[in-house]
C-alpha cells in the first residue's frame, strides 16, 4: 500500500470532514423514501435500520415512522436524508440496511427494497405502489436511486438480523478518471 492510499484510508476513517459525492446521479434529490416489499412486514416486529455514512460515525440508525402500513406487502419509511445514509465509502454507491426481527415473529419475508425520491404517501399512492411492485417492478426500479431485488424472498427471523446493501448504479465509461475525481474530493 502506498503512502497516498494509506492517507486516504486514514482520512476516510477519522477525519469526518468530507462530504459524500454524487457520481453521475442527480444531486438535487436530497430526500428519499425507503420502500420495503415483502410479506408480513410490520413496524412492531421488524426494526429497520440504515447505517449513517462515515461522517456521522458509521452507526446503525433506527428508522421510525412508516407509511403504507395498511397496504398489502409493503411499508415505506419516508423522508430520509441522502447525505446521511448514502454510501459507506466515497463512491456513494449504496445504502446499508439492517432488519432485526423482534420477539417470536418468524413469518416475515423480504422481497425487495427501493429508495425512491421523497413523496407524500396518500392511501391512493400506497395502493398504486402495491400494484406497481407486483405487476411492474421495472417501473419502480427505473425510478429508484437504489435497488435491492430478490427473485426468492429472504426469510426474516429473530435468530439473526438481515443485513445487505441496497445498490445505487454509478456505472461510467472512465473508471480511472472517476477515481482521480474522488481522490481530488478526498484531499481538498
Amino acid at each position: 500500500m502506498n503512502r497516498l492510499s494509506l492517507a486516504a484510508i486514514v482520512l476516510m476513517g477519522v477525519s469526518g470532514v468530507l462530504a459524500p459525492v454524487a457520481a453521475q446521479s442527480d444531486t438535487s434529490i436530497d430526500q428519499f423514501d425507503l420502500i420495503l416489499v415483502g410479506d408480513q412486514l410490520s413496524p412492531s416486529t421488524h426494526q429497520v435500520e440504515l447505517k449513517t455514512n462515515p461522517t456521522q460515525g458509521g452507526s446503525w440508525t433506527s428508522l421510525g415512522e412508516m407509511r403504507c402500513g395498511g397496504a398489502e406487502g409493503l411499508v415505506v419509511v419516508p423522508d430520509l436524508s441522502r447525505s446521511r445514509y448514502y454510501g459507506q465509502d466515497r463512491r456513494e454507491n449504496h445504502l446499508s440496511l439492517r432488519i432485526t426481527t423482534t420477539g417470536n415473529a418468524s413469518q416475515g419475508r423480504l422481497r425487495a427494497v427501493y429508495a425512491v425520491p421523497h413523496d407524500e404517501w396518500t392511501n391512493s399512492a400506497c395502493t398504486q405502489l402495491t400494484r406497481l411492485v407486483r405487476s411492474d417492478p421495472q417501473t419502480v426500479r427505473r425510478h429508484s436511486l437504489a435497488t435491492y431485488e430478490r427473485p426468492r424472498p429472504a426469510r426474516l427471523t429473530s435468530n439473526e438480523p438481515f443485513i445487505d446493501h441496497v445498490e445505487a448504479p454509478i456505472r461510467h465509461r472512465r473508471p480511472g478518471v472517476m477515481e482521480v475525481e474522488w481522490l481530488n474530493i478526498l484531499f481538498q
Partner: protein, 550 residues
C-alpha cells in the same frame, strides 16, 4: 513527381477495391474464423417422427454456434428429407449424414455380386438425388461406421480378424461402388470412409492393425479416393486400463495419423470424441473433456465433434411383470463427475440428460479452436418455478426490432421411453415443482443486445403451450459470457440467483427481477425487457409521481 502522382492515384483507386475484396472474402460469421470444422451427432432419427422440441432446441444451439449437424440414422430418402427440412427450418445449410449398406450380405458378396448390391446402390443413388435437390451449401456423407464393425454382415462364425481380412480384401471395392453411386447423382458431395480407430492409428501405435493408408491407396486405384477420413475414439474404454495420459496419446496418434494419410490424398481428417456415458457406464470428467479436446487438436484435424447419446441412461430395467425396477446402481448424471461403473440401459440424448455437459463440451471446442470470442457473447439466465419438460418456448430480440429469434424451449429433457415422466426423476433435469435456473450459453451480443456504457437491453418472449401447468418466472439476467474455465451449471446458477441476488444485479449487463413472480399462463406469450440499472435524474424522479397517481 509523376511517379508519385501515379502511385497515389492508383492507391486511391485500388484501396477501395482492395477493401471490397477483403470484405467479400471475410468469413460469414465468427464461427468460421478458424478452419476447424465442428460437427454434432444429433440422434435425429429418434426425434424426427415427432419433430421434437428437444431436437429443435439442439439445432438452435448448433445454428448459433455454427456447428454442422451429423446424423447417422438416415436410411431412406424420407428420413433424409425430414432431417434436411428440420435443419433448414433452424437456419442450417451445412449438414452431414452417415449411411451404410443393407443388412444381410458379406463384404465379398457386395463387391463381387452385382445383384446382391443392387438394392443398396439404388438406395444410395436415391439418397444422393434427395440431397442434391435440397441444394445444401455443403454436404458430407460418411460411409460405414467403425468398419469393419459397422459395415457389412459377416458370417456368424467370423471372428474379428476374419472380418478385418475380408474388409481389407473387398472393402475398397465395396466403398468405390458406393462412392461412385453417390457422386454420380451429387458430384459436389464429400464422401468419406469411417474405419474403426485401431485401423486409423499409426503402425507405431497399432502395429499391423493399421491399414488406413492401404485403404486409401486401394480406393485411389479404383478412382474413388475418399474426400475425408473419419475416426472416433471413446476414451472411456481405455482411460481405466491405460490412464489419462496414455489415452490422450492414443487419441492424438489416431488424429495425427489420419491427418497425415489424408493429406497424401488431398483429403481431410475428422475426429469424433466422447463426452457421453458409454455402454460400460463410464462418463468423462470435466478435466478429461478438456484434455480430450487438447489431445484431438494436437493431431491437427480438419474437424472434431462429439457423439450424441448417454448410455447407462437409466438405473431401471424391465422387471418380470414388465414394469421398471431399479437396478441399484448409482448412476450419476452430474455434468462433471464421472459416473460409477454400472449397468447399461437404453440410451437417450446427451442434450436431454446431461445438458450442461453437452453445452460445456461444445463451448470448450469453440474456445479451443478460436471459433468463439468471449467478448462478443453473453449468457441468458432464466429463473422460475416448475420449469418442467419443454413447457415454454423462448425468443429474444434487440429492443425495437420486429423479428424474434428462437433460442429453444425451456428444459427439454425427454425424448424416448427411457425418459418418460417419473422414470427416474432424480437423474433428469426435471425442475418439476421447484425453483430452478435455465441457462442459454454463448449467445451473440451483436445479434441480440442493444448496449451502451451502462449495460445492455434485451427483449425476452416466453410462450407457454396449452398444456403447461402454470409455471412462474422470477428473474432473467443477461450476463457476460463465462468462459468454460468458469462454467456454471444450472444447479450452480440456481444457488447464485437465490443466495446472491445483489451480486447478480450488479454483475448483469441487463436484467429484470419480479419480487412477486409472474405467472406464465398456458397458451399465452409474455414479454419482458431486460435492462441495466441507470442513475436516476430529476426528470425520472418527478415522473414517478405520475405512476403513483394513475
Amino acid at each position: 513527381m509523376l511517379h508519385h502522382l501515379r502511385f497515389w492515384a492508383s492507391l486511391l483507386v485500388g484501396l477501395p477495391l482492395l477493401l471490397v475484396l477483403v470484405s467479400c472474402t471475410r468469413p460469414a460469421s465468427d464461427a468460421s474464423t478458424n478452419e476447424t470444422e465442428v460437427f454434432m451427432w444429433t440422434g435425429a432419427s429418434n426425434f424426427l417422427p415427432e419433430d421434437s422440441l428437444l431436437f429443435q432446441t439442439q439445432l438452435a444451439f448448433a445454428e448459433r454456434q455454427g456447428i454442422v449437424p451429423y446424423e447417422s440414422g438416415i436410411h431412406s430418402p424420407d428420413d433424409l428429407r425430414r432431417f434436411l427440412a428440420a435443419t433448414r427450418r433452424a437456419g442450417i445449410e451445412q449438414t452431414w449424414i452417415e449411411i451404410g449398406p443393407d443388412n444381410g450380405m458379406t463384404t465379398r458378396e457386395f463387391a463381387t455380386d452385382s445383384s446382391a448390391r443392387q438394392s443398396t446402390l439404388e438406395r444410395f443413388r436415391a439418397l444422393a438425388r434427395t440431397y442434391e435437390r435440397h441444394g445444401p451449401e455443403a454436404a458430407h456423407i460418411t460411409i460405414f461406421d467403425e468398419a469393419p464393425l459397422g459395415a457389412f454382415t459377416p458370417p456368424d462364425t467370423a471372428g474379428y480378424s476374419e472380418r478385418v481380412d475380408a474388409f481389407r480384401e473387398y472393402g475398397p471395392e465395396g466403398f468405390a461402388l458406393m462412392y461412385d453411386a453417390l457422386k454420380a447423382e451429387m458430384p459436389s458431395v464429400d464422401v468419406g470412409i469411417f474405419l474403426h480407430h485401431p485401423h486409423n492409428a499409426s503402425e507405431a501405435m497399432a502395429g499391423t492393425h493399421s491399414f488406413i493408408d492401404d485403404f486409401m491407396e486401394d480406393a485411389q486405384a479404383l478412382g474413388a479416393t475418399p474426400d475425408f477420413i473419419y475416426s472416433d475414439v471413446y476414451r472411456g474404454y481405455f482411460n481405466r486400463g491405460y490412464g489419462v495420459e496414455a489415452t490422450n496419446d492414443y487419441v492424438t496418434d489416431v488424429v495425427r495419423h489420419t491427418k497425415t494419410v489424408a493429406e497424401k490424398y488431398d483429403a481431410e481428417a475428422h475426429q469424433l470424441g466422447q463426452v457421453h456415458t458409454i455402454k460400460l457406464g463410464y462418463t468423462p470428467s470435466q478435466r478429461q473433456i478438456d484434455t480430450n479436446v487438447r489431445a484431438m487438436l494436437r493431431g491437427n484435424p480438419d474437424g472434431i465433434g462429439w457423439y450424441w447419446p448417454n448410455y447407462a441412461s437409466t438405473n431401471y430395467t424391465e422387471g418380470p411383470d414388465g414394469t421398471p425396477r431399479p437396478e441399484g446402481y448409482d448412476v450419476s448424471f452430474d455434468p462433471f463427475v464421472p459416473n460409477n461403473w454400472g449397468k447399461t440401459g437404453p440410451a437417450g440424448s446427451l442434450f436431454a440428460t446431461s445438458r450442461d455437459r453437452f453445452v460445456y463440451s461444445y463451448l470448450r471446442i469453440q474456445e479451443a479452436t478460436d471459433r468463439l470470442d468471449p467478448r462478443e457473447r453473453f449468457d441468458l439466465w432464466l429463473y422460475g418455478y416448475d420449469f418442467g419438460h419443454a413447457e415454454h418456448r423462448v425468443h429474444v430480440r434487440r429492443p425495437g426490432e420486429d423479428d424474434w429469434t428462437f433460442l429453444g424451449v425451456v428444459n427439454p429433457q425427454r425424448d424416448r421411453d427411457a425418459y418418460v415422466e417419473g422414470a427416474r426423476p432424480e437423474h433428469t433435469y426435471s425442475y418439476e415443482d421447484e425453483w430452478h435456473a435455465v441457462v442459454f450459453h454463448g449467445l451473440d451480443r451483436t445479434d441480440h443486445l442493444e448496449s451502451d456504457s451502462l449495460g445492455s437491453r434485451l427483449e425476452l418472449k416466453i410462450t407457454s403451450h396449452e398444456g403447461s401447468d402454470t409455471s412462474r418466472l422470477g428473474a432473467a439476467y443477461v450476463l457476460p459470457y463465462r468462459a468454460t474455465r468458469h462454467y456454471v451449471t444450472e444447479v450452480k446458477a440456481t444457488s447464485l440467483i437465490e443466495d446472491q441476488p445483489r451480486w447478480m444485479s450488479v454483475n448483469a449487463l441487463g436484467y429484470f427481477v419480479r419480487p412477486y413472480p409472474d405467472t406464465l399462463r398456458p397458451g399465452t406469450s409474455s414479454t419482458y425487457e431486460l435492462s441495466p440499472n441507470a442513475p436516476i435524474d430529476s426528470a425520472r424522479a418527478s415522473s414517478f409521481r405520475d405512476h403513483l397517481s394513475q
